[in-house]
Every structure is written in structure tokens, then in C-alpha cells.
């Protein structure tokens, strides 16, 4: 056989072998085809079917992009390495602030590995949060926030079954735009952004509402497809976010200056969304499912069961309680009997301990020997039910705590109230008027807002302890205070929120320190140990200074009663110092507070007027009239100084008075009269006259 012939036969054999393998190859790998109007599609070969079954097929992931496929092929199976190199280059570009090349590199990375979710998430965040922050111009920053969002949106086209990307988009649109330092500017830019919003109507261009839509998309995907968040965020937090977007939208609507029906509708929707959220089944970490909105029903069920248990063993609970009560220690009993607002910190723990001990547990009733024998089986059954129910209540309440369920429920309800809408509207109008310098309108609006707030606080006393409410009212008091300060006025004596301020002082943990130090000061004073008394009074005043720092409106007498209490304390302190024959220290810690009180005292004004009169008379050369007015002025100043005894240590005032006294002295000289021996402001003269 010639070599040529051998070669020919060999080729034929190869062809036959290839032909034999073709059916096997077809069976294994032929692609799936879709159903059309004329043909029924094919499920494809074994590999195609396996991919379909395991949902690994590209069509299940998202868009098949020729660019991406080309790049993957071009890297000859080394796309992981290529992506790593690009990632490193991206870091270098970012370091050198080469934003054009950074964007281009990210595009290449995601084309190489379009289904690597963490790449999308990490770089989306990087663009929106890190790169955007590098720019000084807030418009550029917004542009880069949107770049990050667009990047994630592109990711969703490649990964259509990935709720994490949808959730991230919702978060970026909601929280990044709505919570950044530049949120006011960002929200405006978002509204004007035709490229991002497309055909979305203007009134729907609220970042929180758009964010909510993306959260809803993520929820729908999880609810309708067999996908999960895969380790990201707890389900309860994730499920709360769409409703939280609505809450934030309502809040932002008011901050934008829209009130009335518009704001009310947003809060109504927020309340509805929150209520819907409360009805959702939330999986817990221990495999159970809870409904956050059903805790009241659970408590009710528990009460019913406990009642049934008590009915099975009449009088047992009461007996057990009495027995436990008899076993309390004296300290516990004392703590329990002390009213809550009078308890020192150590008694809080003792009282709580006592209350917990006194709680009669269901198992104590079931196991009690007084339980009738015939009811024991039923009681055990009830105990089992109660135990399960209590565990469910505990976990539901714990989950409610994670999302602050009660607070937001209350907030959404309260914010719809007319009183609250009025309070917010008036506050906004007051702030706007204040920024324009229209003090009359500002003060009127602030007064109206205060009246609306106090009405709401009376209706919902729980708001008194709510941090957001106290912060909001704190802001109102600050703005009102600024307006009053510019008019050189104090809060009106019938100020509507005076009671709120008083409550804040009463609720302050510092109040106990005041009580404690005051008690010690009074004890020392009564024992004649004035030095110790002075020390404790100083401590009291230091705590008061802390409270004034927390509630600066107190200085302007937002609560006259509290302001008077502080003044009374100052007088006591001054009195003790006087007895000790010690001067009031020049760095007295409540100088500013006292000065404000003094400046707004009618007698101060009268004293100032008398001095002004005397100066005018002096100019006219009417020496007797001037002298009379000076003496009247000094008498008035004497009363002011007696009312505010620490004022003597106020150097500025001292210098001013010395100047006036010098004028008076000159006048007397001209009249050839000596300075009186019992000069009414001798203490001022003694303290400042030598300077």
C-alpha cells in the first residue's frame, strides 16, 4: 500500500469516527429553541436541559451581550485574570483621579464578568459614594451618584433575577440622594433630571418615591421568583425599606415646604404602607414566621389564656403575689414605693428587680400545690400554649424593635393630624420669614406652631419622650429664640410650650444630680457648714448650666417657672457666699443667664432711663436735677443688684457702673459736696473703684 493511499484511508477513518460522535454531540449539546407561532420550540440537548433545570442558562441571568461574549472569548479563558488586572488598573485610575479611564475600565470589567454581582454592587457604590465625593461641585457629585445608579441599572439587565441590585438601586436613589449633605440640591437636580426620569411626570419625580418603586421591584422578584437576597440584610429590614421610603418622602415633602393635602396624602400612604408591612410574613432566624403588626393580637391571646389558667386555679396568682411581696428586701420595697421621678439611679435597678421578682409566671401557677388535681392536665396544656405564645411575642417585639415599628406607626398616624400639619407649616413659614428678616411674621408663626405643638402633645403625650419630636420642638425653640433675640424680647409669659420645656427639665437625668446636691447643700447649711454648702450649691449650678446648654431657650425664659427656680438657686448660693464673706467669683458659671434676666427686668430699664435722664440734665447744666436722677438711678440699680446678687461679679456691668459713679462724683465735686459715706453702691465701688 502506498503511503498516499494509507494517508487517504486514515482520513476516511477519522471522518467516520467524527461522524459517529456527531449524534452523541448533538444529544449532549444542541441548543434550546423558543416556541414560535409556527413551530414548537425544542428544550435542547442534555446540557441545555440541565442548564434550564438548574437555572444556569444565560437567558435566566439576563441579557446576552455580543460585546461581553466577544471579550470573554478574546481572553481565551483567562477572563478572571484579565478582570483582576483591570480591577488593579481601576484602583490606580481612581487614585490618580482619572475618571474617564476609571469608567472605561469598569465597563470592561463588567463585560468580562457580567454575572459577578459583587462587582456591580461594589463599583456601583464606589461611583456613587466614593468617586462622587471627590468632586467639589455638587452638580458633578450628583452626576456621579447617577452614574453609580446607572451602572447598577445596567447590572440588572445582565442579572434579571438578582434582587440585591434592585435593592441597591432603591437605596442609592432614596438614601444617597435624600440623605447626603447636599440632599436639598440633589433632590432638586433629581426632579430636573430628564435623562434619568425620562417620561416620569414632574409630581412623581421624588427620589424617595422612585427609590420605593425599586424596592418594590426587588420585593416582587423575591415574591414571584425563586430567588433570595442571599445573605444580604435581614428580611425585616429589607421589607421595611419601601415603606420607609414613603415615610421619608412625606417628611421631605414638608421640608420642601409643601403642606396641607399634599403632605397629608403622603403620610396617609406612609401609614398604609407601614400597616401593610406589619401584615407581611417575616421569616425569623430560628425558622419561624412573624407578623409585626400582630403583636397586639398576640398579647390579647396571651391575656385570654392567662385568664383561663387563673380560672383553673382561683386565688393562686394573688397568693403567690402576696408571698413574693413578703420576700422583698427592705431596699427593694423602699425603691418600689418611691415615685419614679424621685428615685435615685440605684433605686431604679432595685425597683426593676422587685417588679420582675413579683411577676407571677404561668408555670408557678401550674406547679403550685393549690392547683386542683382535676385541672392539672388542662393547665399544663394551657402552659404549653402560653409558652409558645410568649416566645412568639418576644421575637415579634424584638423584630419590631429592629425597625422601630411602634415609633413609625405612631409617627405616620400623628403626622396626618391637622394639628401636626399646622405645626409643621407654621414652623416652616416662621423659618422662611426669619431668613427674610420679617420678624413680626416669624414670631407670629412660631407662636402658632408652638400652640399647635402643645395641642398635639396633649393629645399624644407619648410624643413628649420621642426623640424626633423633642428635636423638632428644640429646633422651633431655637428659631423662635433667635427671632425674639433680634427684637430683644423674652418668650411670652404664657408661652404655649413652657410646659414642654418643664417636662424636658424634669425628664432630664441631670435633675437627680440637682436634687442630690441641693439636699446636701441644705443639710450642710442647716448644720452651719457654709463652706460645704457653697461647694454643693456650685455643683447644683453647674448641673443647671448643663441643662441650659441642652435647652438654651431657658435663658430667654421659655419656661418662667424653671427660670425662677434657677434664679432662686443662684440667690441661695450668693447668700451663702455673703455669709462666708466670700466674693462671687468673677468667672461665675451662670453669668450669661443672669445677665439676660437682668437686661429684661423692668427695673433695669428704669435704672438705665434714670441715668440717661441725669446725663441729659448734666449736659443742660441742671446739676440738682441731674443729681436727683443719678440717685434715683443708683437706688434702682441697688434693687436690681439685690435681685440678682451674682451680678456684682459681672465685670462689664461693674465697669459701666463705675463710669456712671465717676460722673456722679464729678457732679458732687462741682456742687462742692462730698461723696456720701453710706453710698448705696458702695460694694460696686469697693470691687471696681480701684481699677
Amino acid at each position: 500500500m502506498t503511503s498516499r493511499r494509507r494517508s487517504f484511508i486514515r482520513k476516511i477513518v477519522y471522518l467516520v469516527i467524527i461522524a459517529l460522535f456527531l449524534p452523541l454531540l448533538y444529544w449532549l449539546g444542541h441548543p434550546a429553541t423558543l416556541d414560535t407561532e409556527t413551530d414548537k420550540g425544542s428544550p435542547g440537548g442534555m446540557l441545555a436541559q440541565q442548564r434550564t433545570d438548574q437555572k444556569l442558562d444565560q437567558v435566566y441571568l439576563g441579557k446576552i451581550d455580543p460585546t461581553s461574549e466577544t471579550l470573554k472569548l478574546a481572553t481565551l479563558g483567562m477572563r478572571g485574570i484579565a478582570a483582576n488586572i483591570l480591577w488593579t488598573k481601576g484602583i490606580e485610575y481612581q487614585k490618580k483621579k482619572d475618571w474617564t479611564n476609571l469608567s472605561a475600565t469598569l465597563n470592561q470589567i463588567v463585560k468580562l464578568q457580567p454575572n459577578f454581582i459583587d462587582v456591580w454592587r461594589h463599583q456601583g457604590w464606589n461611583l456613587s459614594y466614593n468617586c462622587s465625593a471627590e468632586f467639589d461641585d455638587y452638580r458633578e457629585r450628583y452626576h456621579w451618584v447617577i452614574k453609580g445608579i446607572d451602572f447598577l441599572k445596567l447590572g440588572t439587565t445582565y442579572n434579571q433575577r438578582e434582587p440585591r441590585l434592585l435593592r441597591d438601586i432603591g437605596w442609592f436613589i432614596g438614601w444617597k440622594i435624600g440623605r447626603a449633605d447636599e440632599h436639598e440640591q440633589f433632590r432638586l437636580l433629581f426632579k430636573e433630571d430628564d435623562d434619568f426620569n425620562g417620561a416620569r411626570p414632574q409630581n412623581e419625580r421624588d427620589n424617595w418615591l422612585v427609590g420605593k418603586q425599586w424596592f418594590r421591584k426587588a420585593e416582587n422578584l423575591i415574591d414571584t421568583e425563586d430567588v433570595s437576597l442571599r445573605g444580604m440584610k435581614s428580611p425585616v429590614v429589607f421589607r421595611s425599606q419601601a415603606a420607609m421610603c414613603q415615610m421619608n418622602c412625606a417628611d421631605a415633602t414638608e421640608k420642601d415646604g409643601k403642606f396641607g393635602e399634599v403632605a397629608k396624602r403622603q403620610w396617609q400612604q406612609a401609614a398604609k404602607d407601614w400597616s401593610d408591612f406589619g401584615r407581611l410574613p417575616i421569616p425569623t432566624t430560628d425558622g419561624r414566621t412573624v407578623h409585626l403588626g400582630e403583636v397586639a393580637r398576640l398579647h390579647n391571646d396571651r391575656r385570654q389564656l392567662l385568664k383561663q389558667l387563673d380560672d383553673l386555679a382561683p386565688g393562686v396568682r394573688e397568693n403567690l403575689f402576696k408571698e413574693k411581696e413578703s420576700r422583698l428586701t427592705d431596699e427593694q420595697r423602699k425603691a418600689r414605693n418611691t415615685p419614679e421621678h424621685l428615685r435615685p439611679p440605684e433605686q431604679f435597678a432595685l425597683a426593676a428587680e422587685a417588679e420582675a421578682f413579683l411577676e407571677v409566671e404561668p408555670h408557678e401557677i401550674v406547679r403550685n400545690h393549690d392547683m386542683p388535681r382535676e385541672n392539672q392536665a388542662e393547665a399544663k396544656n394551657l402552659l404549653e400554649k402560653i409558652t409558645i405564645l410568649e416566645s412568639l411575642i418576644r421575637i415579634t417585639e424584638s423584630y419590631r424593635g429592629i425597625v422601630n415599628y411602634d415609633y413609625w406607626k405612631l409617627r405616620a398616624e400623628v403626622e396626618q393630624e391637622k394639628g401636626m400639619l399646622d405645626a409643621r407649616k407654621a414652623t416652616y413659614a416662621g423659618n422662611t420669614a426669619l431668613s427674610k428678616g420679617d420678624l413680626t411674621t416669624a414670631m407670629k408663626e412660631f407662636a402658632d406652631a408652638s400652640a399647635s405643638w402643645i395641642a398635639m402633645l396633649s393629645k399624644y403625650p407619648i410624643l413628649m419622650t420621642d426623640r424626633t419630636t423633642t428635636d423638632d420642638i428644640g429646633d422651633l425653640l431655637e428659631s423662635y429664640g433667635k427671632a425674639l433675640d433680634q427684637r430683644d424680647q423674652l418668650f411670652p409669659s404664657d408661652f404655649a410650650l413652657a410646659e414642654f420645656v418643664r417636662m424636658q427639665v424634669k425628664e432630664s437625668p441631670k435633675t437627680y444630680q440637682i436634687r442630690n446636691s441641693l439636699q446636701k447643700a441644705e443639710e450642710a447649711e442647716s448644720e452651719g457648714d457654709l463652706a460645704t454648702a457653697a461647694t454643693f450649691y456650685e455643683k447644683v449650678l453647674q448641673v443647671w448650666r448643663g441643662i441650659i446648654a441642652d435647652l438654651p431657650s431657658l435663658e430667654q425664659r421659655s419656661d418662667p417657672a424653671t427660670a425662677d427656680v434657677i434664679l432662686a438657686m443662684i440667690r441661695k448660693y450668693a447668700d451663702v457666699l455673703k455669709k462666708l464673706d466670700r466674693p462671687v467669683p468673677s468667672d461665675f458659671i451662670l453669668h450669661q443667664f443672669v445677665r439676660v434676666q437682668m437686661e429684661h427686668d423692668p427695673e433695669t430699664r428704669a435704672a438705665q432711663l434714670a441715668i440717661e435722664r441725669s446725663e441729659r440734665a448734666l449736659d443742660r447744666g441742671e446739676l440738682s436735677a441731674a443729681r436727683k436722677d443719678y440717685e434715683q438711678g443708683f437706688a434702682l440699680w441697688r434693687r436690681v443688684l439685690d435681685r440678682y446678687p451674682t451680678l456684682i461679679a459681672d465685670g462689664t456691668l461693674g465697669e459701666e457702673l463705675i463710669e456712671v459713679i465717676d460722673q456722679y462724683r464729678q457732679l458732687l465735686k462741682r456742687q462742692k459736696v462730698d461723696m456720701p459715706k453710706d453710698f448705696i453702691l458702695q460694694d460696686v465701688l469697693d470691687r471696681y473703684g480701684q481699677r
Binding site: P66, T67, T70, L71, K95, K96, K97, D98, W99, T100, N101, S103, A104, N107, Q108, K111, E134, F135, D136, D137, Y138, E140, D181, E182, Q185, D194, D195
Partner: protein
């Protein structure tokens, strides 16, 4: 544009470079002569060996200086034909395919699309041409030797030098032809890829001045355009309906309003202002601190990238650029100052307001300083400031000399003064503020506790614009020079190595050439972790790269060995061509003219390497049996 290495003017460079080159050539010649004599002596004994060596050296003068251009051209043509037989045209086809599909990978919606397009075409051309030349030059001579074709050639009266030169010229000519074709196609690709137009949205047009009635026409209008390539422009029209689609993505469009019957149409032109080649005049930067003491650098604000130094706001701190050649001939109408600044805020301040900076012009001789511009800084974008020839500042600063009774200068004070009646209120840029073409521009930050970041290349005077097409060609010239070096090394290695080994050696040179700067840094001990032995110890002991190794014998031995190795690395690195320096894609992409100095310096560098490689290649070929 970021320029991390300063360009040295040609007249400063040439002296140093020539001296350096001569020293290296002399060192190489002496080393070569010594080594070849040594080998000859070992092989043939001292007398015969030395005689042979001197004979070879003597005949080499004739070979190198008496080459026949006709024979060189014939061999060049032979190399070209040989290459064409090897289907070099495939590279061209590959390039075409790349361009066809490039649109998929390039995002015309990028903030600076031209940069992406230019980087892409220059990079892909560079890769393809260098790879092609690598294969051609490394395999050509060894293949001829193997197929004995070269034996036929050497039977003719040709000199080995002509063979080496013919090969080199052949490949270079072929590569040049390919580069010209690729360059032309790339230019068309870039121009077409970025061509687009927009439409004006009539409903978006609003009057600029309140009270104007748009319906009556003939009023200035502002509005928006449609979005194309992921961007839209603000539209500004004057009373006559002429105007611009304002600058976005580095370009603008002209627009004109026309009436067509009852309808009003807006004709929008193609993008402009994108393909430019600015001719910058750079100055020397120095810094003043808040006490007005001269410093080499400004404040470090903790940025990982230390390219920019920062100027403290609300203080006397300043960045001072000293320019030369600021003459009325160079800047006949006005001074165009262009800047790219960094901004660092230590506190939020007013979000809607940029950090304020001020430009002061100062005569370096008289010290007269006038306030030219107060501006809000715009980060990461080129800020353009036109400074008129006649300045009417509100404030001037000048040097005041206090003299004693003998007329001797006692003290020189810097005085700031508001313009009042007794002072001149108008200053001429050239008469008052420059001294023989020298001008200082001071940049200060006005906002207290905020900072402006600058580097030397961040501010320049824009003298004029050169041709973009010519600049694009210069970009290709950079690739051409890299190609010449690859051919030179490939042919040189192929004169004494087999094809594949020659290719590996050339690839090694390529890699070394691209990482030359890093190698020098490594050899100078400027990297963390020490030399190779010290680094190896750190790897084994998992020690970090910054702490000192414990003192002892091991460390002493390692560091001594490293010192020797580093010296060797330094010699190797210095012998490698600085390939990265030939890459000027950045200049073209960022719209900066490639200077004649750059062309001259890199061109001479290439030529000097090519000559050296040719001579070395010739000696290697001459010593081979076949060439005798």
C-alpha cells in the same frame, strides 16, 4: 493633563544626552574589544588572537563606512518582499476588524470621549505593529540561515553591515507604511465615531431677560437640546437666533435658527472644540507658605496621590508659576491662562459656591503685583481665564524699598494697597508686569481653612492651537520610534541567536523598556522591601516591607549581595530604551500639542539606539561562519 515627569528643553537635554551616549558607546566598545580579544587569544594564542582581533576591527571600518546604497536598497527590498510573503497583511486585516467592532467597547457617552477613542486607536495600533515587528525581525535572519537563503546572498559581494542594515531598513519601511495606513484609518474612525448632532427642544426655550416676550421673537433664549450619546447641551441663542449648544463632554455645537415657511427650524452643526492641540507655555512652580516663606511644596492634605500640593486658604500661602517668553508677539491680544485645580475642603462651607481663588500677576523684577481675577475653583475641569492686556485692578501689591540717608536699601517690604486717586489705575501686561518676557502668576485661595491643590502642569498659558491632525501624526511617530527599536533589537538578537530565542530576548527588552523607570527605582533602592535577596527573605519570613530586618550576619550578607545585584540591574536598566517615554497618546488624547523638543529628543534617542544596535548586530553577524 497630568504630567508627572517634567519635559527638559532640547538645548538643555542635548549636551547631557550626547555626553551620556558617548560614554556608554565608549564603554561598550572597550568592553567588546576586550572580550573579543580575550576569546581570540584563548582560541588562537596571544599573537594570532590579537592579530585576528585587530584585523576584524580594521575591516569593520570599511564595512561600516563604505556601504553601497544600491546594495543596501536591494537588501531592503528583499526584506520587504520576504515579509510580504509572510502575510504581514494579516495584521492590517486584524486592525480593520478591531476598528469595525471597537464601537462596542467605546462609550461615546463618556465625559471625555475623545480620550477614550484616541487611547484605543493608539494602543491597539501600537500592540499590533510591535508584535508584528517582533516576529518579523526576530525570525527573519535565523529563517534565512536555516533555509540557507543567506548563504546565497553572502556569495555575492555584499558586506555583513549591508545585510544587517538592509534588514532593519526593510522592516522599518514596511512598518512605516503600515503605520501610515493605520493612522489614516484611525483618524477617520475617531472623526466618524465622535460625529453627532442634536436637536434643539423648542418647548425648552425660555427668555433670558424677564419681560422679554419669546413669541415676538428677536430675544435671547436659553433651553436644552435632545440627548444623543448619553449627553445633552444647554442651548443659548442670541437675538438673531444664532448661538451654541454649550460645552459638554469637551465640545460644543453651533446652532442657527431658520424659518421654513411657517415653521422655525434649528440647524445644529457637528461637534467643535474637541479635536484640538493646545500649545501650552509651562512655567516653573514654587510655593509660598502662610508666612510667605518660600517652600518646595505646599501643604500635604493626606491625599494618597501626592502629585498635587495644596495652598492654604485665607492666608498668604500661594502657588507661584514663573513663566518666560511672555511677549506681545506670543500673546498679541490677551493672556489665556488655563488651569486644572484640586480642591480640598476642611469643612463643608457653602455647598453651592466653589472655593474662591485669586490670580495675581507679578513683575518678578519690580515686584509690582496686580489682582487679575477672582474665581470659583472648578475641580477636574479646565478653567479658562482671559486676562486682557490692559488691567484695571482694584488692588495692587508692590515692593517698597526703605533706604537710609546714604541711599542704601535698608529693608524691602511687600505692600498691599487699594487703588486710589494717586496711583496708576490701569496697568499694561507687558509694559508693567513682565520683565524681558518673564512673568509670575500667583495663585491664592481666598476661603479660610479651605485648600486649592496644584501641580506644575496644572497651569499654563495657551499661546495658540496647533493642527490636531499633525498632532495625531506625532502620536503615531511615537509608535514608529518604538517600532524602530523593536526592529533594531530583533535584528540584532537574530544575528547570533535562533529565531525563538531572539524573540524572547526582544520581548525581554520590550518588557524591560516599558518598566525601565521601575527597574531604575529598584536598582537605586527607592522601593520598599530592599533588593531581591532581602525581598526573598521577607517573603519567606512573611515580614512586612517597611520594618528593618534584624541586624546580623544574614542581613549583612543579603544587603551586600543586593548592593552588587542592584548595581548590575542599574547597568542593564540604563542600557534599555525608555519605551514608555515614547508613548505620547496622553498628549493627543488630552488635546495638547506634542512639542518639537519632545520630537527631537525622542527622535535622537531612537536614532542613537538604532545606530548602536546596527553596529552590534554587524559585529555579531561578521563573527558568524556564514558571513565570512
Amino acid at each position: 493633563m497630568v504630567i508627572e515627569t517634567e519635559q527638559i528643553p532640547f538645548h538643555e537635554w542635548i549636551l547631557w544626552a550626547s555626553l551620556n551616549w558617548l560614554l556608554v558607546v565608549a564603554a561598550l566598545a572597550v568592553t567588546g574589544l576586550f572580550l573579543s580579544s580575550l576569546i581570540a587569544v584563548v582560541r588562537h594564542g596571544p599573537a594570532r588572537g590579537l592579530e585576528l582581533t585587530f584585523r576584524v576591527v580594521g575591516s569593520s571600518f570599511a564595512d561600516l563606512f563604505c556601504m553601497s546604497p544600491r546594495r543596501v536598497w536591494a537588501l531592503t527590498w528583499l526584506a520587504i518582499k520576504d515579509s510580504l510573503r509572510r502575510r504581514v497583511v494579516i495584521v492590517f486585516v486584524l486592525f480593520l476588524i478591531l476598528l469595525l467592532f471597537a464601537g462596542w467597547f467605546l462609550d461615546p457617552g463618556s465625559d471625555h470621549p475623545l480620550r477614550l477613542y484616541i487611547s484605543f486607536v493608539l494602543t491597539s495600533t501600537s500592540y499590533l505593529v510591535l508584535l508584528l515587528m517582533l516576529f518579523l525581525s526576530a525570525f527573519s535572519l535565523p529563517a534565512d540561515l536555516k533555509s540557507k537563503t543567506l548563504h546565497t546572498v553572502v556569495t555575492k559581494p555584499v558586506r555583513p553591515s549591508e545585510i544587517v542594515l538592509g534588514r532593519m531598513l526593510g522592516f522599518i519601511l514596511l512598518g512605516t507604511f503600515l503605520l501610515v495606513l493605520m493612522g489614516a484609518m484611525s483618524y477617520v474612525f475617531v472623526a466618524r465615531g465622535l460625529a453627532h448632532t442634536h436637536e434643539v427642544i423648542p418647548s425648552s426655550l425660555k427668555v433670558v431677560q424677564p419681560g422679554d416676550d419669546a413669541a415676538k421673537g428677536d430675544v435671547p433664549l436659553k433651553g436644552k437640546s435632545t440627548s444623543v450619546n448619553n449627553h445633552r447641551h444647554d442651548v443659548a441663542l442670541d437675538r438673531k437666533g444664532r448661538g451654541r449648544l454649550e460645552m459638554t463632554q469637551d465640545h460644543f455645537h453651533r446652532v442657527i435658527r431658520r424659518k421654513q415657511g411657517d415653521k422655525t427650524v434649528y440647524e445644529v452643526g457637528q461637534p467643535e472644540g474637541m479635536r484640538i492641540a493646545r500649545v501650552p507655555v509651562y512655567g516653573k512652580l514654587r510655593f509660598m507658605d502662610s508666612q510667605r516663606q518660600e517652600k518646595e511644596a505646599g501643604t500635604n492634605v493626606g491625599d494618597e496621590w501626592s502629585y498635587r500640593s495644596y495652598i492654604e486658604g485665607g492666608s498668604l500661602a500661594a502657588g507661584v508659576w514663573s513663566f518666560e517668553g511672555v511677549t506681545p508677539e506670543q500673546f498679541p491680544e490677551r493672556l489665556q491662562v488655563e488651569m486644572t485645580l484640586g480642591v480640598f475642603r476642611t469643612w463643608k462651607g457653602d455647598i453651592e459656591q466653589g472655593i474662591a481663588g485669586v490670580l495675581l500677576l507679578r513683575n518678578p523684577k519690580t515686584g509690582l503685583t496686580v489682582e487679575a481675577k477672582i474665581f470659583p475653583a472648578r475641580e477636574f475641569s479646565t478653567d479658562v481665564h482671559q486676562i486682557a492686556r490692559k488691567l484695571t485692578p482694584e488692588t495692587v501689591y508692590y515692593l517698597k524699598r526703605e533706604e537710609d540717608s546714604d541711599g542704601l536699601v535698608k529693608k524691602v517690604k511687600y505692600v498691599r494697597e487699594e487703588i486710589t486717586g494717586h496711583r496708576k489705575s490701569q496697568y499694561d501686561l507687558f509694559d508693567d508686569l513682565t520683565d524681558d518676557g518673564r512673568l509670575e502668576i500667583w495663585l491664592q485661595c481666598l476661603d479660610p481653612n479651605q485648600y486649592l491643590g496644584v501641580a506644575q502642569a496644572d497651569m499654563y498659558l495657551r499661546a495658540r492651537d496647533a493642527s490636531f491632525a499633525l498632532n495625531f501624526m506625532k502620536g503615531y511617530f511615537g509608535i514608529w520610534m518604538q517600532m524602530v527599536l523593536v526592529v533594531g533589537f530583533g535584528v540584532m538578537f537574530s544575528t547570533f541567536l535562533s529565531g525563538s530565542v531572539a524573540m524572547i530576548a526582544t520581548v525581554g527588552m520590550l518588557i524591560g523598556g516599558f518598566f525601565r523607570a521601575f527597574m531604575i527605582k529598584l536598582a537605586m533602592g527607592e522601593t520598599y522591601g530592599g533588593g531581591p535577596v532581602e525581598s526573598f527573605i521577607r517573603l519567606l519570613t512573611q515580614d512586612n516591607v517597611v520594618s528593618d530586618l534584624p541586624a546580623g550576619l544574614r542581613t549583612t550578607v543579603a544587603q551586600t549581595t543586593d548592593a552588587v545585584l542592584q548595581k548590575g540591574l542599574l547597568v542593564v536598566a540604563k542600557l534599555l530604551p525608555p519605551l514608555r517615554e515614547f508613548d505620547c497618546a496622553g498628549y493627543v488624547a488630552y488635546g495638547f500639542n506634542i512639542s518639537a523638543d519632545w520630537i527631537a529628543e525622542q527622535g535622537l534617542t531612537t536614532l542613537s539606539f538604532a545606530v548602536a544596535l546596527f553596529v552590534v548586530g554587524y559585529f555579531f553577524l561578521k563573527t558568524r561562519e556564514v558571513a565570512k
